[in-house]
Symmetry: C2
């Protein structure tokens, strides 16, 4: 099953596990309707009324990963190994199949399809946060990445018994900013970016899409909700979901249309599971100082780093202008 081991010099967790029997992908796509028997039984789905589970008739379908990194049936065990710490990989690794159409991509999925995916994200996060052993959840969505075996469109949800490194970092910075200024750093970014406009890609009633001031990749985009809220799953409304679906579709069509359909990775950052308080009070201010958002990094395999510092050779202002002027 493996362990989550903590590197005591970095405070970073590493999953050490036996070499995975990656599920063999035959000629049949296991994510296509009619092939439901090729996947583990589904966790959730939106399907036509009357259609039976694990059969066709669905529009979005969620299944556990066949060789999961984290498993819901494990006990949460924390252990010391001399000076070191380890935890059992209790959690969940789920795949959200975004469309029944094999050839769909983030750019071709219409607004209605994206909307269903966004609702399913919220539903799965809400459900998993009911499990108090789960502290944090990330959803990532990749397109045309190196080594991908399945081209059918899907997102991956990972739920774990610790806080993700990147999330801890964001929470810590947001808290320090808030303690100093009594304002949310993301709300301040929204104010400054919409006033300055140079890095804004698109504004809608509910969201602002922008290239961040310190973009790590050319044409990186962040999507921030105008309304301050720390938890995605608790703040999605019919209006904002349809607004966000439209915005995502536009951005992905722009990547495809004017930037050569690059590989990308999208990550949904929402607040950790506040019901699961391991250190009481640790996250007491998340409601005020954290702000859910989406980040999309095009060409994540080509990020340039020198001594760990990202190097971007397309100024964010220029990237934003290009995306605005070629908006799909």
């Amino acid at each position: 099953m493996g362990d989550l081991r903590k590197d005591p010099t970095r405070g970073q967790w590493v999953l050490v596990r036996p070499a995975g029997g990656s599920p063999l992908v035959g000629e049949l796509c296991p994510f296509c309707p009619g092939h439901e028997a090729l996947t583990p039984p589904e966790v959730a789905a939106y399907r036509k009324e009357g259609a039976a589970a694990d059969g066709p008739g669905w529009s979005v379908r969620v299944i556990p990963e066949a060789d999961p990194y984290f498993r819901i049936e494990l006990d949460l065990a924390r252990e010391g190994v001399g000076m070191y710490d380890k935890i059992s990989p209790r959690g969940a690794t789920e795949l959200i199949v975004e469309s029944p159409r094999h050839e769909d991509t983030a750019a071709t999925m219409g607004e209605a399809q994206w909307e269903q995916v966004l609702w399913m994200y919220a539903e799965r996060i809400r459900d998993l946060k009911g499990d108090l052993a789960i502290r944090d959840i990330l959803i990532t969505r990749r397109h045309r990445q190196l080594g991908a075996r399945i081209s059918h469109p899907y997102s991956r949800l990972v739920a774990i018994p610790i806080i993700f490194d990147e999330v801890r970092r964001k929470l810590t910075e947001a808290r320090e900013y808030y303690q100093y200024k009594r304002r949310c750093v993301y709300c301040d970014i929204l104010r400054q970016e919409t006033a300055e406009a140079a890095r804004v890609i698109q504004e809608t009633a509910h969201f602002v899409a922008l290239v961040p001031y310190a973009a790590r990749a050319p044409h990186e985009a962040w999507i921030l909700p105008r309304q301050h809220a720390c938890a995605y799953e608790a703040s999605l409304t019919p209006e904002s979901a349809s607004d966000l679906a439209l915005l995502l579709g536009g951005y992905f069509r722009t990547l495809r249309g004017s930037l050569g359909d690059p590989p990308f990775e999208m990550t949904l950052y929402t607040a950790p599971n506040r019901a699961s308080k391991v250190l009481p009070g640790e996250w007491a201010t998340i409601g005020e100082d954290y702000h859910w958002h989406l980040e999309v990094i095009p060409q994540p395999d080509r990020l340039t780093r020198v001594g760990g510092i990202y190097v971007t050779e397309t100024p964010p202002e220029e990237a934003a202008r290009h995306l605005r002027e070629n908006w799909g």
Copy 2:
């Protein structure tokens, strides 16, 4: 020239600069003896007595990178841009050509050659730390990495006006550990690993090479000096340099001989420039709680991460045994 821009949500610095005119590499290797005119004038070299600078006769030669990320001639300027922070990329990017022999690799360079390289690392770090605008220095050494244009063996030194992200993280963890236990975390690792032996690769009079408990990559190795010291450049002695040269040679020959000569990246972690105190007292305890060391990651391009958590499928204990039993 570009700016170092700070991402206020992660506290991470990104270098945004105009697209670099990467120096054209023609048919002649610019790092070979006799081709010194193809590089910028040298910064330092070990050469035969009487041999003139920027001509042949050297055994190790240091040159500024032709299109440097950081430049020593810039003023250090800190600026606010609304809510954001930026700094000029004041610093240095130097290439340490490790051998006059084009076909040398980390595995073929003999002990005497590695020793000279190790002394040059120390000399360049000492020299650059005399510049109070430089806060931190990393040396990285890559082998057969994707996209490498020059196969002649060299290391890269990067000196910057801020603390590297990875170093800040290590300093912070080491300080917290020290504050809690009054012991250096690296000294504790040395004690536990040598007692337990399962993850030790080799022990010498001055060093221990081990696979870390939470290794991010199969066959990752750390080399820790037994003697507690935060600064590499101040603690190298003729005995320890020769010991380390022997150990590095052995490890790199083992990678080549029994693991198919994989690409790798080595990083030298030494204390930041303590003379350059931007926040007085911030690093007051580095002397007690930090401990210089080397890290080598084989196959850095193939690290597996799920939601940012590294996944290793070769248990560190098994990797250490393999390296011990096949030691070159």
